[in-house]
Structure formats: structure tokens, C-alpha cells
Amino acid sequence: MVAGLVLAPLAALGVTALNGSEDLWQHLLAYVLPVAVRDTLVLLTGVGLMTAAMGTSLAWLVTAYDFPGRKVLTWALLLPLAVPTYIIAYAYLDILHPVGVVQTTVRALVGVDNPRDFRLPDIRSMVGCIALLGFVLYPYVYLATRAMFLMQSANLLDAARTLGHGRRTVFFRVALPLARPALAVGVSLTLMETLNDIGASEFLGVRTLSVTIYTTWATRADLPGAAQIALAMLAVVMSLVIFERYARRQRSYANDAQHPRPLRPERLRAVPAAAALAAASLPIVIGFVVPALYLAHAAWTRVQADGLSPAIVVEARNTLTVALAGTLLTMVAALVVVYAARLHRSRWSTGITQVASLGYAVPGIVLAIGLLPVITGVNIVLLTSGVAIVIAYVIRFLAIGAGGIESGFSRVPLSVDDAARTLGDSPARRLWRIHLPLTRPALAMSSLLVFVDCMKELPATLMLRPVGFETLATHLYGDAVRGTYEDAAIAALLIVVAGLIPVLLLARAAETSIQR
């Protein structure tokens, strides 16, 4: 049923695509795709490498070493998650613009008056785009790999150490290979986020495939053409995902130790400790503190001028309602899918899992267009009641939930299932008694990711919401399009703040449940 839910809008897109679009592909192949594909690949490679390196090394740093500030950093490193890509792009363009704070100060320091005589490189470039996306997306990798490092039994790592290896070797030879499912999940989440990002890329002048789809549809009113590109793109993503699974087929990442004991971090001396603290703080400053302060400043200017609009309270409530409903249903659906795959252990059911995760690879706007006829076909009340938004969230973010649960499940040996089954436990009881308790950190963390993503989601919310229903994201967008950015700053700040609370709560919950 869950797979069907995901497939319905894709099927609708397929039907739309069949309606044909004359000479579209010829045009695209000749003029658009060479550059769009190259740019997309460069962007994906850049963001993938950056988030993998940052996320994993930060996770290892705060897990394997102890230094002042480590406790705070373990959760603070998640903060950039609360900042949507379109917000960070706008904030940095403003801050780093020739007439912005930074360059004005620099010019004052070097004694140049006119920006024409002295300018720093423009952030609106491929490098700028990779860097900004990297700094807000690395927490996906950090979160996944840290959960894995924490759950890895110290026994394995100690065994490696008794063999005379240093921490660094242990990391590269034992911890990192064992964390590969988590790394794969984390990186694929960042890649899919990157792939379906339209706001930041377009804003920074990077013409990705998603922007191409958008152009074909919005400017040329060529929906069939847009559907064709979207499906082609989806096929590429699917083959990547399958390739990764194939590459780690037959391997078991389960931990057979009877009493897994978390790794005890090694204390660092003064200088390395200071270096570690600085290294781990930098991403937080760039990915969160600077944009948050920028927003706070802009929002404050606005509130002083006009006061706070009462509508924003309603919008905040709407946002929380749909995001909570979306998270709950997504996690239930993800659990069903992953557990079913585990119960059946067949190729068929793993296939379903992959299909169910496809929604994440579809740009939100494409998903919304595909979903529209399906939803109105069932009952228009789904659209006028707001349920459509929740359905879209489930389809879109199922991959996050399923990915997290799956990498958590992967460390529970199948022999445990079999043992419980011999003892006569029903599948439901096994799930409740064994899998859920054992994977609680993974569950908590993926719920958090889904929630924050639901709150930030814009294109599908915009398209599928009922008349008169505004969320913080749609308000923000409406103001940003009009260019009254200071109005938008209040909504943006609220998205960031509302995203913070669950980040903090769940990071805490995850830590304690692991360390107990």
C-alpha cells in the first residue's frame, strides 16, 4: 500500500509524459542537457564529498575524543539542519554582497571607497553553491554516522587497538567500514536534497536538472516535457541507489557482541583539544550562527517598525500541525515498509522498499503536480482539508524515515529474529519487544529529520494547501517573491527556531538512550 502511494503520482507523471512533447529531447540534448548534466554532476560530487568528509570526521571527532565543549558540540552540530537551503543562500548573498557588511568593512580597512575598485569573488557561483549546501546538509551524514559510531561496540574497536593500531587506524580500518551503511544513507540524503533543490541553486545561478525541469514546465507550459525529464532523472537516481546496494550486498554489518559497550572517548591535551573545538565549531558558526543572527537582526528591524502580525501565530500552528501529522505518518509507513522487507527477506520486498523511497528523489514541485490529479481523483476534500499536504510529505520523506530505520535494523542480527520466532513470538511482538527498543536512537533521529524537513518543505505545500491556509514556509515565500525580505525574516526565523526545539530534544533523547 505504501509503495502504491508513492507510485501513484509517479504513474500519473508517466501518463502525462506519454502525452508527448514534440521535439523536446532534440532541443534539450543540443542546448540544455550537456551543461545541466555537467553542472548537476559537479554539484552532486562537490556536495557529496564535502558532506561525507565533514559529517564523518565531525562525528568521529566528538565520539572518539573528549575535549572541552564536546558535550555541547554533539548536539550543536545538528543546528544547521534547521536552516533551509533557500534561506542560507539569501542570507549569505546579502552578507557577502559588495554592498553587504563584510565587503563594506573590508573596503573600509583597505581604504577603498568605491566597490568598483575592489571586490571579493561573487558567491553566485558553483563553488559558492557547493559550499553553502555543504554547510547546511552535512548534519545528515553527521547524524547517521554518529549514531553508528555510538552503537558500534567498543569491543570491536578495542580488539583492533589491542592489535596495536592507533585511533586513526581504527577509524579508517574498522569504524569507517562498519559505518558504511550509515554513511551511504547520510550521503544519499544529502545528494537527493541537492538534486531536488531549486531555490538555492537557481538563486546562486547554478542551472541543475531540477531547474531545467522547472523551466520547461513553468516557462514553456510544457508539462509532458517536464514529466519526461523528471522520470529520466529518477531513473538515474534509482540506478545509483541500486548500485550502492549491490556494492554492499552479502555483507553483514550486524554486531554480534552480547553486551555492546559504547566507545569511551579519549581525552585530548590542551593544543589538540583547542584545535578540535575550533574545527568542530566552524561548521556551526557558518551553517547556523551567522544566518540565524542575520535573520534575527532583520526580524528585529521589522518588529520595531511594524510590530508582530497576529497571522504569524496561526501560520506557526498550521506549520506544526501538518509537520507533526506528516512525521507521524511517514514514520509509521517507513516502519511498515522496512519491517516487511525484513520479515520477507525477499528481493521483491526490498524492491518495494526502494520504490517507496523514490519520492525523495523527485523535486517537490514535480511530485505535487503528479499528485494533484491522483488526489482530486479520489476526493477533492483531500485537497480542501489539507490532507493532501500530509500525503505529499509522507511520499517525499519516506526515504529519510526508511533509511534511518533500515540502518538501525541492519545492526540487529537476523539470528535474533529467528531466535525470537522459535520462541513463538509473533512478528508484531518481535517488532515491539526487539527491534523498536534496539533501534530507538535511529528511530528518534530519523523522526527528527523528517519533522524538520516537513517544516522546511515549500513547493508541495504551496501547491497542495487549501485556500486560505498559510504555513511559515509559504508566508516566507510569498514575502520573498515580493521582495519584502524583512517581513520574510520573521517567518524564516520562526522556521529556524521551531526546527531547533526538536533538534535539541531529540538529540538529547538519542544520546541518553544510547548511553544508558
Binding site: V2, A218, T484
Partner: protein, 342 residues
């Protein structure tokens, strides 16, 4: 187990249906679907409610308005459909989502060339595509053709060539000069760009005072929004820091685009919807367009905002807007072909 879980999902979904009941529109309400930002519509909606007692529920759908109304079909709650680009408006009509309106008030206020032949769509306001320029250039006149002049190499800023405002400009050029010349013109502009074609029209003003470029193209009402200070103190600096020239086509006039509306084919509150359109072209409605949004009113004789009047006398290009709408897709393809945004 799995069945039970699916059941939980279904129950939760049903529960949500109950918790969020659909709001049925009564005779004293209309539903407005708009691609226009809610902040710009609010004063007009409030004014209408004050005059008539009819409440306006609105939904802002940036792109995809057509798809949404089409998918809703005969059950659509939409009464009025509003867009900010001629192409999107004609698209609605061509997909059969609008209906003809017989209204002497509308016919009198909106000139025949600014509404559909069978009165399926109406212009509500117009805006010009103008030139923003660095003050030290002291430019007083400019043609759209000049944009491709090599003397501007590395000196032009513009938003994405695929944005409707720019495709409309390219489509107008195409109608006047034909495909070969338009392609050469686009290549010329592309070669003159100081940065990637991206961002918004206001970024052009900011980039000019930031020294990134010397001239750029933007919509007229942004000048009003910036210079009036309604977009904040920073934007006032951007607006005051540039000169604005009303460019023309060689031997023609200035390119304008429109904001307009249609009544939805299946509008449940048709009479109230018509009253809303009539209000928008009334003296009160047109005044709000001019004063709050810095646009040019569609109704002859309606006053325009002093900031906009100071830009000079607008001489509108005679090319019919339907031609611009018709050539939109061809223009968009040419923009791709020359790699304008790459």
C-alpha cells in the same frame, strides 16, 4: 501486523479529515487563486470586503495555478484566477479554465486590446520593463536593441532569461525582428553579462551600486517599492542609487506586461466574482494598484504614483500582448539555445 499498521495509517488519515473540515464557500464569500504575492493582494481584498461585505479567501500559488484548477475540475472552489503575466493568463483561457464575462463596467474600464476577445480575461494593471543604470552614466535614452551592443561588455546584470518577464521581452523582440536577429541579439546580451543571469530584478539595482555591473533590466514597480522605502531602508538605498530609463524598441515603444484576472469556468460564486473584478477596475481599486503596488492602472485617467510619474511619460509599444504570449515558448527555447543562463 502489517494490516493493522495500514489500518492505523488509514484511521489517522480519516481522523485528519474530520479534524480539518472543508470550508464550504457561502454566497458571501469568494475564492481567489492568485500567482500574485499575498502581501500585494491584501489591500485590494480588504477594500473589496469593506465595500461589499463579501469575504475573499485567497490562495497564492506561484506556479502550477493552471494544473491545480485543471485537476480540481468541476468541483473547483476557485472563483477568480489572477496572474502577473500575459502568458499564464492566456494559458488559463486556452486550457478552457475561464469563462466569458458580460460586464459593461469591465468593458468600459479595460481597453479592448487589454482584454480577451470574448471577455474571458481582463488586464487589471500594467508594468513596464525598464532600464536600471549607474548614475554616473547619465543615460537618458536607451533601446532594447542596445543591450547587445559590445560597448556594454561585462557591464550588464539581468535575472534568468527563463523568467516570464524576460521571456516576454524576448518574445516581443522575436515578433519584431524574427528568429535569426533575436538569436544574435540574445548572444550579444549573453556576451555582455557581468554575472550569471539569476536573482531578481532588485538584485540588478543592488549589483549596480555594488559595482558588479553598470546597467540592467528590471520591472518598473520595483523602482517604486525600493524608492518609497516600503521594502526597508536597505532597498531604499538601492532604489535611490540608480537611474531609471524607460527604454523603447527601435522605432517602437516601451514593453509592458500585465497583471490580470479571469473568472473560473466552474466558479461557484460567479456573481460575486464578477463584482470583485469590477471593484478591481473601479477608481478605488485602481488607486490601490497605483499607490500600494506602484503599477500603472489599466483604467484611463486613473492617477499613477508620483514616484512612477517621475520616471517620465510611458509610451507603450503597439505590439499586441497576445503576440507576446503566443511566442513565449519559442522565446524560451531561444534562450536555452544561446545558453543564456549558463
Amino acid at each position: 501486523m502489517l494490516i493493522r499498521m495500514s489500518r492505523t495509517v488509514t484511521c489517522a488519515a480519516l481522523l485528519m479529515l474530520v479534524l480539518m473540515p472543508a470550508r464550504p464557500a457561502s454566497a458571501q464569500e469568494i475564492n481567489l487563486y492568485t500567482t500574485r504575492e499575498p502581501g500585494l493582494m491584501k489591500p485590494l481584498m480588504d477594500g473589496f470586503t469593506k465595500t461589499t461585505g463579501i469575504k475573499v479567501n485567497s490562495i497564492f500559488v506561484k506556479d502550477g495555478l493552471t494544473e491545480r484548477v485543471a485537476a480540481e475540475g468541476a468541483q473547483s472552489p476557485a472563483d477568480v484566477l489572477m496572474t502577473v503575466d500575459i502568458g499564464n493568463l492566456i494559458d488559463l483561457v486556452e486550457k478552457g479554465l475561464a469563462q466569458p464575462v458580460q460586464s459593461p463596467v469591465l468593458e468600459q474600464a479595460v481597453p479592448a486590446n487589454l482584454r480577451g476577445q470574448d471577455n474571458q480575461w481582463f488586464t487589471l494593471s500594467t508594468r513596464a520593463r525598464v532600464l536600471y543604470a549607474a548614475k554616473d552614466l547619465k543615460l537618458t535614452s536607451f533601446t532594447y536593441e542596445d543591450l547587445a551592443d559590445p560597448k556594454w561588455k561585462g557591464r550588464i546584470c539581468i535575472r534568468s532569461g527563463q523568467h516570464p518577464y524576460n521571456t516576454a521581452m524576448v518574445a516581443a523582440f522575436l515578433a519584431k525582428h524574427g528568429e535569426a536577429q533575436t538569436e544574435a541579439w540574445l548572444r550579444g546580451i549573453k556576451a555582455n553579462l557581468a554575472r550569471k543571469a539569476t536573482g531578481g530584478d532588485r538584485d540588478v539595482a543592488r549589483d549596480i551600486i555594488g559595482g558588479i555591473c553598470d546597467i540592467g533590466i528590471g520591472n518598473s514597480y520595483y523602482v517604486g517599492l525600493m524608492r518609497s522605502g516600503s521594502g526597508g531602508a536597505d532597498q531604499k538605498k538601492w532604489g535611490d542609487g540608480i537611474d531609471v530609463v524607460l527604454p523603447t524598441f527601435a522605432g517602437g515603444g516601451t514593453l509592458v506586461n500585465i497583471s490580470g484576472a479571469a473568472i473560473a469556468r466552474h466558479a461557484p460564486n460567479r456573481a460575486a466574482a464578477q463584482r470583485f473584478l469590477e471593484y478591481l477596475v473601479s477608481d478605488d481599486g485602481q488607486k490601490i494598484y497605483a499607490e500600494m503596488n506602484y503599477e500603472h492602472p489599466v483604467k484611463a485617467g486613473a492617477p499613477i504614483h508620483p514616484i512612477m510619474a517621475a520616471l517620465g511619460q510611458l509610451k507603450v509599444d503597439p505590439l499586441p500582448l497576445t503576440e507576446v504570449a503566443r511566442l513565449r515558448a519559442a522565446a524560451s527555447k531561444l534562450v536555452d539555445k544561446v545558453g543564456f543562463d549558463q
